[in-house]
């Protein structure tokens, strides 16, 4: 019987169970085995890049599990935006359509890691810093590497780190916004969705509310669990 949903992505691994209250654990992907200690494969529904590699009974892609996971919190989501470590997936639930951006790091979690690393910050601090910004500057480059050199030149011109972080969030959100079809109910999931700076920027660009479920980073693991339960019936 399926009891666990496990999502091992490019950066982090998550395990979720509902017994009946939601419990979860998160670790780095390279340590995924520690999450599964003592759990038999036939209790696991897996998702993420490593879905076929880890022990499992049922596996599904993140595109499917995201739909199941989001539905735990929101009825009839129209568009799901999943910002992962190495890619961003936008699923139009109404049309069964999706696009995956994995050719370029600029709209993925890797880009924010890269920027945080440059400033000697933790990626989890970016949101706090964003809120201290006085104003934003246009970052014109869409490539991570060129965007960084642009940021450096603004730093030289005397702009504050706070303003620059907020500007980077703005540029990041603009890139993601280009992938999103028109919809009323847009949901943002994935670890990056915990960064309020990104959600606020996206809301400003799209001029509408963006829904973020609690614990957005475990939605795919939760969805895997629900998907697994359904398939087992």
């Amino acid at each position: 019987m399926i009891r666990y949903g496990v999502d091992v992505g490019s950066t982090t691994a998550k395990i979720v169970s509902l017994t009946p209250e939601l419990t979860y654990r998160v670790t780095e992907s390279r340590n995924w085995e520690t999450l599964l200690e003592g759990i038999p494969a036939n209790e696991i529904a897996s998702t993420g890049y490593f879905r076929h590699k880890i022990p499992h009974k049922i596996a599904a892609t993140e595109i499917t599990t995201a739909i199941y996971g989001v539905k735990e919190y929101l009825n009839d989501p129209e568009v799901i935006v999943d910002i992962g470590g190495q890619d961003t997936k936008v699923t139009d639930v109404r049309r069964n359509n999706f696009i995956v951006n994995d050719k370029c790091s600029a709209g993925t979690g890797a880009f924010l890691e890269f920027i945080a690393h440059y400033f000697g910050l933790k990626v989890t601090d970016l949101s706090k810093i964003h809120h201290k910004a006085a104003h934003t500057i246009n970052i014109n480059h869409t490539c991570s590497v060129f965007a960084l050199s642009e940021v450096v030149s603004h730093l030289v011109d005397g702009h504050t780190i706070e303003d620059l972080i907020a500007s980077i969030h703005q540029a990041f959100a603009e890139r993601i916004a280009q992938m999103i079809p028109e919809a009323e109910k847009i949901v943002l999931i994935g670890g990056t969705a915990q960064n309020r700076g990104i959600t606020i920027s996206l809301e400003e660009i799209l001029k509408q509310e963006i829904h973020t479920p609690p614990n957005p980073q475990i939605i795919n693991a939760l969805g895997a669990l629900r998907y697994g339960e359904e398939k087992e019936e």
Binding site: Y49, A60, T61, E62, I63, T64, I67, D87, R95, N96, N97, F98, V100, D102
Partner: protein
């Protein structure tokens, strides 16, 4: 027998009748490890590179210029520095007289028709390929096995009689599991990944239509007049509405559940995607490929997700 390198759709009826053996240059690409310099599309750049390096044993080359692709035309002109080349132009408006004159010029380039009777043989091989295409659509033959032969409809592997023999030996053992899969049409260019059909089938998609190979097999004739009449409908050369209307009818006959639109990096077919979706109104996965080789992991994820979403319908 001299060998003629061909790209896209060059009537093998004429090539054989002029005493040449056709060799579709694109068929070497999916398994090629050549990494060409100065490339836009790998399909054309790889054969261009191999011709420039003298790796292919060809006597002449025919590049489909009008009605195919400008990348092919440029790479073809580069290759023409090494071997004699002819540029074949299909009419955008389907003008049969114009196409007949193009085919006559092609015959002259190849030294004239010496064996007109062979056209009848080629026609009968293509009729067998049409039957094979039907069997695949009925689930008697796997996507991969069918594709392997349909894609050879452009050059009949250089020998119509031997190819016909081979076709008669294809095992017809599939069934059952294919019937429970989604029925998918591959639109656009053939996938540049050599295991695409196998992977799609493994992930629950039975490909029952391949647009380009279907063009290879459905046009034929016993003389230049009949050939011009038939090949003038080559959909890739015509306006998009003509092509989409044709596809709509064909996809309807095959009871298609979904479309995979195959495009290449730096190919104009990418621009057609939105129009194709609007016109055909069918769940569509668009694939952008670049270099040949096995299906990359990122693409497997897309195919698997697409297959899962189709079950949600």
């Amino acid at each position: 027998m001299k060998t003629l390198g061909i790209t896209a759709l060059v009537p093998p009826e004429i090539v054989f009748a002029c005493g040449f053996k056709p060799f579709d240059l694109n068929n070497i690409v999916p398994t090629s490890t050549t990494r060409p310099k100065n490339k836009l599309c790998a399909w054309t750049a790889i054969w261009r590179e191999q011709i420039m390096n003298g790796e292919l044993d060809l006597d002449s080359l025919v590049v489909v210029a009008g009605g195919d692709c400008h990348n092919a035309l440029v790479d073809g002109q580069r290759a023409a520095e090494k071997i004699p080349a002819f540029y074949l132009f299909y009419p955008f408006d389907g003008n049969k007289e114009y196409l007949k004159s193009q085919f006559e010029r092609l015959s002259l380039f190849l030294g004239g028709i010496t064996d007109p009777g062979i056209m009848k043989t080629v026609k009968s091989v293509k009729e067998n390929l049409m039957k094979l295409d039907q069997l695949r659509s009925q689930g008697v033959i796997s996507s991969e096995l069918g594709f392997q032969y349909l894609i050879s409809g452009c050059d009949l592997q250089g020998d119509p009689t031997a190819f016909k023999e081979e076709l008669s030996r294809i095992p017809r053992e599939r069934g059952g599991d294919l019937a429970s899969m989604h029925r998918v049409a591959l639109i656009g260019v053939p996938p540049i990944h050599h295991d695409f059909h196998r992977e799609a089938e493994r992930l629950g998609l039975h490909i029952v239509f391949d647009e380009m190979p279907f063009e290879f097999i459905r046009h034929t004739g016993k003389n230049i007049n009949e050939l011009a009449e038939s090949y003038a409908d080559y959909t890739f050369a015509r306006d998009l509405k003509y092509r989409f209307d044709f596809l709509k009818e064909e996809l309807g006959k095959r009871r298609i559940d979904a479309i995979i639109h195959c495009t290449q990096f730096a190919c104009h077919h990418v621009l057609e995607d939105g129009m194709l979706r609007e016109h055909l109104q069918c769940p569509t996965l668009t694939v952008h490929s670049d270099l040949p080789g096995p299906v990359p992991e990122q693409l497997k994820l897309r195919i698997e997700a697409f297959s899962e979403l189709l079950w949600r319908k």
